[in-house]
Amino acid sequence: MAKKITGPQMILGNYLDDGRAVFFTRDGGWSADTSLAAYEEGEALDDLITEAGKSTANNLIVDIEVIGARVEGGSAYPAHIKHAIQAKGPTVRTDLGYQVATDWEAA
């Protein structure tokens, strides 16, 4: 039986060309910056998933996944360590990944 989804969720995907992990944003785009990410719960989440799914049809994004969000100050961040690492880059190579260009300490 599928695990019941509870709480705020965000949409994670990968760009088709470089595989970069990105989040569906509040303005309908995709960004590695999680603070721009859209998050919803309940019935509104279904609409968000549908909207994000159009990017797979548009050949922009692959492997869309609905993940748990931790909301702070109106911004969403991945709740699980796996997705937090996915968002930032390898913890053992902090010179690589999206953490390089982002002030993740503040996140």
Binding site: G19, N59, A79
Partner: protein, 551 residues
């Protein structure tokens, strides 16, 4: 080493061209991701946490200096300046762009390398002894047979969609350095009473969530029958292996279910049907392949090397490196040098482009332009003259490759874990780094002696934790990374399955627990007794009490 003929070259070139077309169609949207995924996987291209990952085969762990230089170039031009050597003797690039992968594969094809069948439910890269053809304890060089298996299994039409992935390992030595008993099919070169060369054939080994040690299916298979016999084994598996549940689909599950004797009986029956179907290649072809692996002409040298003796006296680390990182060659005056890719505080198995270039240059100068990759994630320079060791170590040490820890506690097999892998549940690399920092004293490591620590970030066991003298398994407990400790495994000729000691620890606790296990060993060992022997003599309970009762 083997050199492509026109058939090999055409086969790889055509595949590169085909994949270029497939990638272009995917980018244009003419192929969906669902259609494209199995195609990219069969070309070694995964989608991991941060980016695509390209796994390039190093057949049976043997490569040339030119090939290593090309890997360095690929890392520099298309990736982020490094690659990761794996337990299947492959190399993985962690950041390639999809649109550039055909160019990468084209550049690799120019030096006779490819990524074919490094993923998918097919026969994967055949692994072997990293010292094959260069070790004193060998019946025969296993690489010609590994090459035969590579050619036979590449694009084998019947075995391209097996129930699950399929892994061969082969060794020609009594000392098993290829973990053959942990493979779907393991082959050990043997001689029969008449002195003829053949194989002990094992099957049904594997790690993952159901660790099983392979059983002997045939005590002695004549050399000439190798391909037809393994074809028969694969046919039995392909027909009867489960396809309804991927977790029950490996050959180990089939053999556990039907019994090794019944699997052997069915294999023999199938073999009777196929053995005369011209699957085995003519003796001339075997001889042609063997000729590629003719040992290099090495002049017998004195085992006295004054410069080596002098540097050993004045530099403890060099002396330790000579002791730990070299092993006997079949020709007097030579050794095989194992270059540790486990620098303390570093990332196990990783090498930068600059390091790869250096290893290639050293191979050209000192090891007949040959390089090996071990399943323990190290690099090897075979056929090195003893007198050259000081110069080699000096160059390696300046490049951060001089760590003298081969075979010791910090020479860990470690999977990429949750830092890179989409399947992982926990990080492995930071734990390895913490362990190497805790055990950074070379004299302490020497005192502890041979000890194989192997770590996986999930139950899939890419880090071989079941086969570690000490195994560490990362798990996810409600979003928290925890690490279980296992004891008593072996990937060698005395293969055994490690047992979980008890509840897991956090990232700090696991290092403390490991240190307590080592302390118990040091307190209990008999004179000259290595860790695994002590564990087998005294059992798990005393270790369990040491790490749990005091907590």
């Amino acid at each position: 080493m083997y050199a492509y003929d026109k058939f090999d070259r055409d086969m790889v070139d055509v595949r590169v061209s085909e994949f270029r077309d497939q990638v272009e169609r995917r980018v244009k949207g003419e192929l969906t991701e669902e259609e494209f995924r199995p195609i990219r996987l069969m070309n070694g291209l995964y989608l991991q946490l941060h980016a695509y990952m390209l796994r390039v085969a190093v057949p049976y762990g043997t490569m040339s200096a030119d090939q290593m230089r090309r890997l360095a170039h690929v890392a520099r031009k298309y990736d982020k300046g490094y690659g990761h050597f794996t337990t299947r003797q492959n190399i993985q690039f962690n950041w390639p762009k999809l649109s550039e992968t055909p160019d990468i594969l084209e550049e690799l094809a120019e030096v006779e390398m490819h990524a074919i069948q490094t993923s998918g439910n097919c026969i994967r890269n055949v692994t072997s002894d990293q010292f094959a053809g260069a070790t004193a304890d060998e019946i025969a060089d296993p690489r010609p047979y590994a090459e035969l298996l590579r050619q036979w299994s590449s694009f084998h039409p019947e075995f391209s969609f097996l129930p699950r992935k399929f892994k061969f390992a082969i060794t020609g030595a009594d000392q098993d350095r290829a973990a053959v008993k942990w493979h779907d099919i393991g082959l050990i070169v043997r001689k029969n009473d008449a002195g003829e060369v053949g194989f002990e054939v094992l099957a049904g080994g594997g790690m993952g969530r159901t660790p099983v040690i392979a059983k002997t299916i045939r005590e002695f298979l004549p050399e000439k029958d190798l391909l037809s016999y393994v074809e028969a084994m694969l046919r039995v598996y392909n027909e009867q292996g489960r396809r309804d549940n991927k977790y029950k689909a490996r050959i180990k599950i089939l053999i556990e279910a039907m019994g090794a004797d019944e699997f052997a009986r069915q294999t023999e029956a199938e073999w009777e049907r196929v053995k005369d179907a011209h699957i085995d290649v003519p003796a001339e072809e075997v001889a042609r392949i063997k000729a590629f692996f003719t040992p290099p002409p090495l002049e017998v040298l004195s085992i006295d090397a004054p410069a080596l003796e002098d540097l050993s006296k004045e530099n403890f680390v060099f002396a330790a490196w000579v002791k730990n990182n070299t092993n006997a060659h079949k020709v007097p005056g030579y050794v095989n040098v194992t270059i540790s890719l486990k620098p303390h505080g570093g990332i196990p198995g990783d090498a930068s482009s600059e390091q790869m270039d250096l290893v290639a240059a050293l191979a050209d100068e000192y090891s007949q332009s040959e390089i090996r990759v071990s399943h323990e994630q190290n690099l090897i320079l075979p056929h090195v003259a003893l007198r050259d060791l000081p110069a080699i170590w000096t160059d390696l040490d300046e490049a951060g490759l001089g760590t003298a820890n081969v075979g010791l506690l910090t020479d860990m097999i470690v999977c990429p874990g949750l830092d890179y892998c989409a399947l992982a549940n926990a990080r492995s690399i930071p734990i390895a780094q913490a362990i190497t920092k805790r055990f950074d004293d070379m004299k302490r490591l020497q005192d502890i002696g041979p000890l194989k620590v192997k770590m996986s970030g999930c139950i899939n066991s890419c880090g071989h934790h079941h086969a570690g003298h000490i195994g560490i398994l990362g798990v996810d407990r409600k979003g928290q990374e925890l690490y279980q400790i296992l004891l008593g495994g072996s990937g060698a000729e005395d293969a055994s399955k490690a047992g979980i000691l008890g509840p897991g620890f956090d990232e700090h606790g696991i290092v403390d627990a490991l240190e307590k296990v080592v302390a118990v060993y040091l307190g209990e060992r008999l004179d000259g007794e290595e860790f695994l022997a002590t564990y087998r003599r005294i059992g798990a309970q005393i270790f369990k009490e040491a790490i749990y009762d005091a907590a």
